[in-house]
Amino acid sequence: MCGGRGSRAGPLPGAGIGTLARPLKRLQRKVSGGCGGGSSRGLLSHHPAGDSTSGLVVEGRERGLILLFYLVFYGFLAALFSFTMWAMLQTLNDEVPKYRDQIPSPGLMVFPKPVTALDYSFRVSDPESYRGYVDDLTKFLKSYDLEEQKNLTACPDGALREQKGPTYTACQFPVVSLKGCSGVEDPEFGYSTGNPCILVKMNRIIGLKPQGKPRINCISKGEKTATLSTYPSNGTIDLKYFPYYGKKLHVRYLQPLVAVQVAFNTTSTGKEVTVECKIDGSPNLRNQDDRDKFLGRVVFKITMHA
């Protein structure tokens, strides 16, 4: 676009001094002509006029338009997002989640529900100190009431109970098997007598079929300051409660429970015990994981003050 140099020239036509200026002018014309006569203003590109706007009315209208634009834009986005979410939800099965590989093995959980730490501490002489635990246990065992279990099936022991639907039935869990921790004989769950009960349960996982004879094995760690008794005896979890078919199909399903009752040795000075419970006796239920401290096991501490 720009004119070249062009200062090379041969002898110029015509004679005389007057001709001298011409080639030079020609050269200059080439230079400036190439740039559109030197005025660059006309060539300036279409830049938006910056942030300057004239007049409040224009500015107001502009603002309004922006608002409208974003309203429409976000409206559209919201609609699109809702649509894709809806479409995704359509692909989901209501009964069974699409993937279950994130929870291959159940965790263990204890009751009363721990709030800040797995540390139960109470004073036998002060009912207020253990009221929370007792209430929690009572509440939890409410669904295990005989009344509640009336309509449930009494299933045969010792075998997996696979069902084909369309209706799925839940097995009864006889609370009495928890003996002194059932709340039936002792509504205080042993707290008032200094033999507190802790319930251990295994997390529900859809379709989980434990192999072997699963049981909850609880031991007190460290110094033998207390004797532990587990109910049902041996901490057995019966296979009849498996597999679980999910909240929707398997209504009123009751998880098998195991209770641990602590009896502190009268000889020991400290009324404190750390208990570790593990799932045992089933090869496909893991009880050891470096990161997950609750995978197939649970550790809790009980401190009893006089």
């Binding site: 740039c35 502009e62 989640p97 859809i206």
Partner: protein, 1060 residues
């Protein structure tokens, strides 16, 4: 008593080759500062004994802080009266004997008082200060603030034993490391540039010949004192400012001081009021080209004219680079957004019932999340890449930020000699047979289309070749003629080369017609005569003569026309006058040529006496004129033209004569064709420049002496009203005044220069450009950029690169900022909706410092969308690097779509694992509680803390992958701001590599075994990679539609609101 040869003070026609000395600054070991000599701005009583004032001043230690008034003083002209004194007065003032010099003891005394004769080195910034500047300057501040906030948050958390998370600690450390590494990197880059600078320095110790107590002695230059009697000869560097008391054919090259390339003669007589113009002063660190001279030192070290300029340079405050301003503006915007979001969510979380402590942690978290961690690295690397690219094109950038400055430049104040011109005299025109011929002045001079059939030409060529003392240096036969080095002055060399090229070998010519006698040129005669044996009949002689045309004509009684001799008539005289004026008006140096065939009486063996002329000196035959000029560099007119179409005003500032300056300005297009300059008009109407209606004239040639009398308002008016401006005969300080004037108009000014006189302007200009070959060290130190080939055209490529990088930085920033929204929104929704955290700190860092990095940098390689040299320079007020439109696009539009893509993936992963979206609301409290190990999902399954955390991190990995996928689309749309991608093409290979790289990196982070331990990233199912693709497509389509609308409705609403 004091002889002097050059009395006329007229334009000198012959001189030695031009020298361009770099100034060697000898830095004394003692760092004592010598204050610049106090000025006497009024022409009132003459200051007595200037040196004493220097002495007294020295005692008052100058404070670190530069006195503004002092700088203003320095900007003014030097007022000295030493050049006006008679020799007796001079002798009295300095109490020195003009033949014996100072007594040695006295000299020692003065040396002790005044200190060594050296320039105070500019206060160099210590390396650690430079390093800290890199570490804490500009953008780094933002990251440091982020890091500190992180540590504060971590401190709060540990102090109150809040949550066992160490994310804030890690984030803080990573931020600090990023800033530190980037700081080291840019420090290293700049150190590398300054190393190249170091190599330019030549530290040759200089000697001076002084006469003390009647004895001549060689002493180090730094020991020269005021009042010393010194002697200089050709080839010496002038050791101090000297008032001459005697001279024999002394010529000095003041180019490093005034920029004027022609050596000037020096003699003891006072010729001009102005110290710089008068012929009886030699200046410190200029060069004596030939002859000898004696003089009294009137100033040393920092009080010399040169020293004052150096002090002025180091005392100037330098403004911020445009890119630094832009980054500041950007930080403001980012901070505003961050604080706004932080504070509003702080309030919101308090309302939602979070504790104060939690709310504060959230506040800090949100503010920190807004910090674009990767941007500092991106910007630095982009600038470095451009700096590298520019260095390849002969623009060495000293300061990284200056890379962009050139792109914003709206005015270039350029030197003439050496930058616009080739700095080499060349024959431009010939006039014989009453016809003007144009010679080839291009740098190569390969083809010569010159007419060689006229007999007059043969004779003219022979005179030019024979009556010529220049010669080629030996052993250069392989070089092209134009490139060969010669002995002799510029004009004679030009003639020599021209004849060698277009006629025949001068050597042969000289062998055939040996020289028998010669009268060399002197400025009284202003001609040169040589007598040779005739080539055809070796018995007779021919007298050849060249010189100032009017002198030559006076000797002639006849003239040649097509080889025939005609007697001189009025018509011929008029033709001659017109040609002379015409060529002179082009700023060319014109020489006349004539000859005389000596009669037989002067046959071979005749003893010619050149002192008492014993041969005829009249009735010569006039042959023709040859004119020479330092021609413009070949690429310059095109470059100037490009500048003009790019809306950049090119102003020529030169110490040269107005006529020459104007001619070159016209030749290179600084003054375009047909533009009447005000100077022409003023000459015709005999009125002052200021009285011409400025609207009528676009071009103006301003004389330095006029500029001196102008107020800044008047200068502003000139700069505003004229589009084509040439400043001629300017003094060293005036360039600075011009640069400041341009800056007052809000322009971004680039100034070029090579001399010491230019360095204040270089320092003051937004970007100072020094010449790599001819530039003095002082100018290189003051400059931001160095033109390695001294060619003006390289500046234009620099401008192009600068503009491109500005555009591409916008794109890079737009790209990088976009992913900020999908990074912040998860945290916000985590707070207000109580859902598990969709994106964690580590994954955010993986995006900002991992996957986003290469693609963002690859945008620096993007080619321009349109001809960036056809639009006006960026308006620094309105066209910001980051404006609300860019933020709106990145945050408000594309970022939102990206966030949705991430959330979609997040909800899909959770839902498919059992947690349906509706059940997630408010789940946060239990979810985050590590003692809740039987959290129930939507299907009745129960999750331990660790199990759901793994799920959460899987979701975060999914969110991360989604961002990578939507960033594909973002990268492609950020390639262009106006054009469609289909117009722009996918030619940017680095960008394609960037897309692949980020994808592979994401896959690597996702699937490498052990990543679950290291970064808590978990493998994803293939389907989860695809969730974001619809959103990616949406981004692409949305932006293509937007750009389509912008292209089809220029200036429309969409453009006004979304074109960044």
């Amino acid at each position: 008593m004091y002889s002097c040869l050059d009395l006329s003070g007229h334009v000198v026609l012959f001189e030695l080759g031009q020298l361009y000395p770099g100034i060697t600054m000898e830095f004394g070991k003692t760092r004592g500062r010598v204050t610049p000599q106090e000025l006497n701005p009024s022409s009132g009583p003459k200051p007595k004994r200037v040196p004493k004032m220097v002495g007294r001043r020295k005692k008052e230690k100058v404070k670190r802080k530069k006195n503004k008034a002092n700088i203003e003083e320095l900007k003014k002209e030097v007022v000295m009266d030493d050049h006006k004194l008679t020799l007796e007065e001079l002798s009295r003032r300095y109490s020195v004997d003009l033949t014996k010099g100072l007594r040695p003891e006295k000299a020692q005394e003065i040396l002790d008082r005044d200190g060594p004769n050296t320039l105070t080195p500019p206060p160099t910034t210590p390396e650690w200060v430079k390093f800290c500047k890199q570490l804490f300057g500009g953008f780094s501040i933002l990251l440091w603030t982020g890091a500190i906030l992180c540590f504060v948050a971590y401190g709060i958390q540990t102090y109150f034993n809040e949550e066992p998370t160490k994310d804030n600690l890690y984030l803080g450390i990573v931020l600090a490391v990023v800033v530190f590494i980037t700081g080291c990197f840019s420090y290293y880059q700049e150190a590398k540039s300054s190393k190249i600078m170091e190599s330019f320095k030549s530290m040759v110790p200089q000697q001076a010949l002084v006469i003390r107590g009647g004895e001549k002695m060689q002493i180090n230059v730094q020991n020269v004192v005021v009042g010393d009697l010194v002697e200089v000869k050709g080839g010496d560097r002038i050791p101090a400012d000297i008032r001459l008391i005697s001279a024999q054919g002394c010529k000095v090259d003041n180019s490093s001081l005034t920029g004027e390339s022609e050596p000037q003669s020096r003699f003891p007589h006072f010729t001009h009021e102005n110290l710089l113009e008068t012929r009886n002063i030699c200046f410190f660190s200029t060069n004596c080209v030939e002859g000898t001279a004696r003089g009294i030192v009137i100033a040393t070290g920092d009080s010399t004219v040169m020293g004052r300029i150096a002090s002025l340079t180091s005392g100037l405050a330098v403004g911020q680079t445009p890119i630094a301003t832009e980054i500041k503006h950007f930080i403001h915007i980012i901070t505003m957004v961050a604080v706004f979001l932080g504070v509003s969510f702080f309030g919101l979380s308090l309302m939602l019932g979070y504790s104060w402590l939690k709310a504060v942690i959230f506040l800090i978290g949100i503010i920190v999340a807004n910090v674009p961690e990767g941007l500092l690295v991106t910007v630095t690397v982009c600038l470095t890449l451009t700096a590298k690219r520019m260095a390849k094109k002969n623009c060495l950038v000293k300061n990284l930020e200056a890379v962009e400055t050139l792109g914003s430049t709206s005015i270039i104040c350029s030197d003439k000699t050496g930058t616009l011109t080739q700095n080499r005299m060349t024959v431009a025109h010939l006039w014989f047979d009453k016809t003007t011929y144009e010679a080839d002045t291009s740098e190569e001079q390969t083809v010569n289309t010159f007419a060689k059939d006229s007999d007059t030409w043969f004779i003219l060529a022979r005179i030019a070749g024979l009556c010529n003392r220049a010669d080629f240096k030996p052993d250069q036969e392989t070089l092209p003629i134009a490139k060969r080095a010669t002995t002799g002055d510029a004009s004679e060399s030009a003639l020599l080369k021209f004849i060698e090229q277009s006629y025949s070998s001068v050597k042969e010519m000289r062998e055939k017609s040996p020289k028998v006698a010669e009268i060399p040129f002197n400025s009284t005669n202003k001609y040169q005569i040589s007598i040779h044996l005739r080539e055809d009949s070796s018995q007779t002689h021919v007298l050849l003569m060249k010189g100032a045309p009017e002198r030559i004509l006076a000797f002639c009684s006849s003239y040649l026309l097509n080889g025939q001799e005609y007697s001189m008539d009025e018509e011929m005289k008029e033709a001659f006058q017109n040609a002379y004026l015409e060529l002179g008006g082009l700023g060319e140096r014109v020489l006349g040529f004539c000859f005389l065939n000596l009669p037989n009486t002067f046959s071979k063996g005749f003893k010619f006496n050149t002192d008492e002329v014993n041969f005829p000196m009249e009735n010569f035959c006039f042959v023709g004129l040859i004119s020479m000029i330092d021609p413009p560099r070949p690429a310059v007119p095109e470059a100037v033209c490009k500048c003009r179409s790019a809306g950049i005003k090119v102003i020529m500032v030169t110490g040269d004569h107005p006529i020459t300056a104007k001619a070159i300005a016209k030749g290179v297009g600084i003054i375009s064709e047909g533009t009447e300059t005000a100077e022409d008009t003023t000459a015709q109407l005999k009125v002052h420049v200021r009285q011409i209606d400025s609207r009528d004239v676009k071009a103006i040639v301003v004389h330095g002496s006029d500029l001196k009398d102008m107020s800044s308002a008047q200068l502003d008016e000139i700069l505003r009203n004229y589009t084509e401006i040439v400043f001629a005969r300017t003094s060293p300080q005036q360039k600075l005044i011009i640069v400041e004037g341009c800056q007052r108009q809000g322009n971004v000014v680039a100034a070029t220069g090579d001399g010491v006189n230019d360095s204040p302007a270089l320092k003051k200009a937004d970007i100072g450009i020094a010449m790599g070959i001819t530039g003095s060290d002082v100018s290189k130190q003051a400059a931001d950029m160095i033109l390695l080939d001294d060619n003006f055209a390289s500046i234009v490529t620099g401008v192009e690169e600068g503009r491109l990088i500005f555009d591409n930085l916008k794109k890079s920033i737009a790209y990088t900022l976009t992913s900020n929204i999908p990074e912040i929104t998860p945290f916000l929704l985590f707070i207000i909706l109580g859902i598990p955290l969709p994106l964690g700190t580590i994954t955010i860092l993986c995006i900002d410092l991992g996957t986003d990095m290469v693609p963002a940098i690859s945008l620096a390689y993007e080619s321009a969308e349109s001809d960036i040299m056809k639009r006006a320079p960026r308006d620094p007020k309105n066209d910001k690097l980051v404006n609300y439109r860019l933020i709106g696009m990145a945050y408000g539009q594309i970022g939102m779509i990206q966030a949705l893509a991430g959330f979609f993936t997040y909800f899909v992963i959770l839902a498919e694992n059992g947690f349906k979206p509706a059940d997630l609301l408010g789940i946060r409290h239990d979810w985050e509680n590590s003692y809740v190990n039987d959290l129930e999902d939507s299907y009745g399954q129960q999750w331990t803390f660790e199990q759901r955390k793994i799920l959460e991190f899987t979701c975060q990995t999914g969110f991360f992958v989604s961002i990578v996928i939507v960033q594909w689309a973002d990268l492609i749309i950020c390639k262009t701001r106006r054009n469609s991608v289909f117009q722009q093409g996918m030619k940017n290979k680095i960008l394609i590599f960037g897309i692949l790289e980020e994808t592979f990196l994401a896959a690597f982070l996702c699937y490498t075994p052990g990543m679950d331990m290291a970064l808590r990233m978990y493998p994803l199912k293939i389907f989860w990679w695809l969730c974001a693709i619809p959103y990616s497509i949406l981004i692409f389509i949305y932006d293509e539609v937007r750009k389509f609308a912008i292209r089809n409705h220029p200036g429309g609403w969409l453009e006004r609101e979304t074109y960044y």
